[in-house]
């Protein structure tokens, strides 16, 4: 095993307990949520139809059919997703700062490993990335589970079966997390990975220059963002509609690659020449 994989494994182990907690919370909340809101829906249906003597049609008219959209619009569903997103966002910072702060100073150990220091950087980034993809995969599996579970919970006449893409689209912004196409997936997560690298490098700038570094790091993030959207600026302000969509797309990919390479290169430089314990 190369040192990169050893570090990746090591970083993964360090967050694994919390990661398992996130996974369990997501599973429990979404499945329990589905059971609870479908039971509530069916109880209301019984009340309206049996007790209030309304027809099934009028009930469906008022309350609509039950579908997984009922679940995706509830806190049961997006609560844990938000929790996972926030946790991992915080972890982007924590994965570095934990090594500097506290009684132990693990950063000494990491920087004195007989391997490229960049491996530490890349392993941390891949840890975040792998965990994100793990949660996305979990969510896909959960949706399939929920699609089957809802069939057991709600009778056919009350139920609207959605396809997996309809479920995903029923929840705002979920398309960004689980895009329809593989290319869309590459775009979402390519951009995400780029953002992680930029934040990592900004953190290393702060760690190298401390108080001054907060300012420089902020400028660096702004500059990266500017480079990333520069094709859009170019197209909007200077050459409106000059570039066709496919050309804009390629320019954006190119800009993204520049930002990513820049972040990794700068990270490499800082780790080798400027970093302080």
């Amino acid at each position: 095993m190369t040192n990169f994989f050893k570090l990746l494994r090591f970083e993964l182990d360090r967050f694994f307990k919390l990661y398992i907690v996130l996974i369990v919370v997501t599973i429990v909340s979404q499945l329990a949520g589905l059971v609870i809101i479908s039971k509530l829906y069916m109880r209301r249906a019984r009340e309206e139809i049996v007790v209030n003597q309304n027809s099934m049609e009028s009930f469906l008219e008022t309350y609509g059919q039950f579908s997984l959209a009922n679940l995706t619009h509830s806190l049961w569903f997006f609560g844990p997703i938000a929790l996972c997103i926030v946790s991992l966002l915080i972890y982007v910072f924590f994965i570095w700062y934990r090594d500097w702060f506290g009684k132990n100073t693990f950063i000494y150990r990491l920087l004195m490993l007989p391997t490229e220091r960049l491996n530490v950087y890349l392993a941390k980034a891949m840890t975040i990335f792998t965990m994100v993809l793990g949660l996305v995969s979990l969510q896909i599996v959960l949706i399939y589970l929920e699609m089957n579970l809802v069939r057991l919970l709600v009778p056919r006449d009350f139920r609207l079966d959605l396809t997996i893409h309809e479920v995903i689209r029923s929840f705002d912004y979920f398309n960004i997390l689980i895009p329809d196409s593989f290319l869309g997936f590459l775009i979402s997560y390519g951009t995400g990975l780029m953002a992680v690298f930029v934040l990592f490098t900004a953190i290393l700038i702060e760690r190298s220059y401390r108080l001054k570094g907060v300012f420089i790091g902020g400028l660096y993030v702004a500059a990266s963002f500017f480079v990333f959207i520069s094709p859009l600026i170019l197209s909007e302000i200077f050459l409106p509609r000059f570039f066709y969509p496919i050309e804009m797309f390629l320019l954006e990919v190119f800009a993204g690659l520049i930002v990513m390479t820049g972040a990794i290169w700068l990270g490499y430089y800082l780790l080798n020449k400027k970093i302080r314990v």
């Binding site: 090591f10 506290g102 132990n104 000494y108 004195m112 490993l113 970093i275 302080r276 314990v277």
Partner: protein
Amino acid sequence: MIEVREITKRFGRKEVLKGVSFTAEKGEITCLIGVNGVGKTTVMNAIMNLTPIQSGEILIDGQKINKRSYEKIMFIPDAITMLPQMTIQQAMQFMDDFYESWNEKRAKELLDFFKLEEGNKISNLSKGNTAKINLLLGLALDVDYLLMDEPFSGIDIFSREQIADVFTSHLVEDRGVIITTHEINDIEHLIDKVVILNDGTVVKSFYTEEVREKEGKSVIDVLREVHLQ
């Protein structure tokens, strides 16, 4: 040989090192002495490329430090460099994973010598035992040079004695060692060479044996002279 040549280091406007030069040979124990805050730790960090220097250069056996150097030179800071949630065994496993120079036999030997249990968690260890583990993780590497930052500070007398014993044993013998301290008393008899740091420069460096034999002075005598000047 570790060569430190004219290194300067600023923290903001404050110049901490104003051109520090000295050498440390293999097979010798070199002691960096100075009051607290004089920049001893900074010199160590600079040698290990853990902090950037403004000018000067540091060579290890004639080469600038690179990733392979860490198989040859190891730094033992005054705080433990392993995660507190790890057991001693896991910490040793970590070293084994990453360092080719990790010597499992020597590690076991040190473990016995210090009377430590592999299954103990680092966070549960006493201050003295933590220092011993820290030392163990460095000493069990087959490296040529060892840097130790205040290995005796803040620990009990028995642990100190145990650690001091290590210095005279075969565990250290052929290696080059640089240690820093602000109290010379405990280790005066162990060290071969003294480098006195003051106000960002090396004010005096000498071999202990030389001053003892030729001038009949102890290290403390020399220190006192330097301070009175």
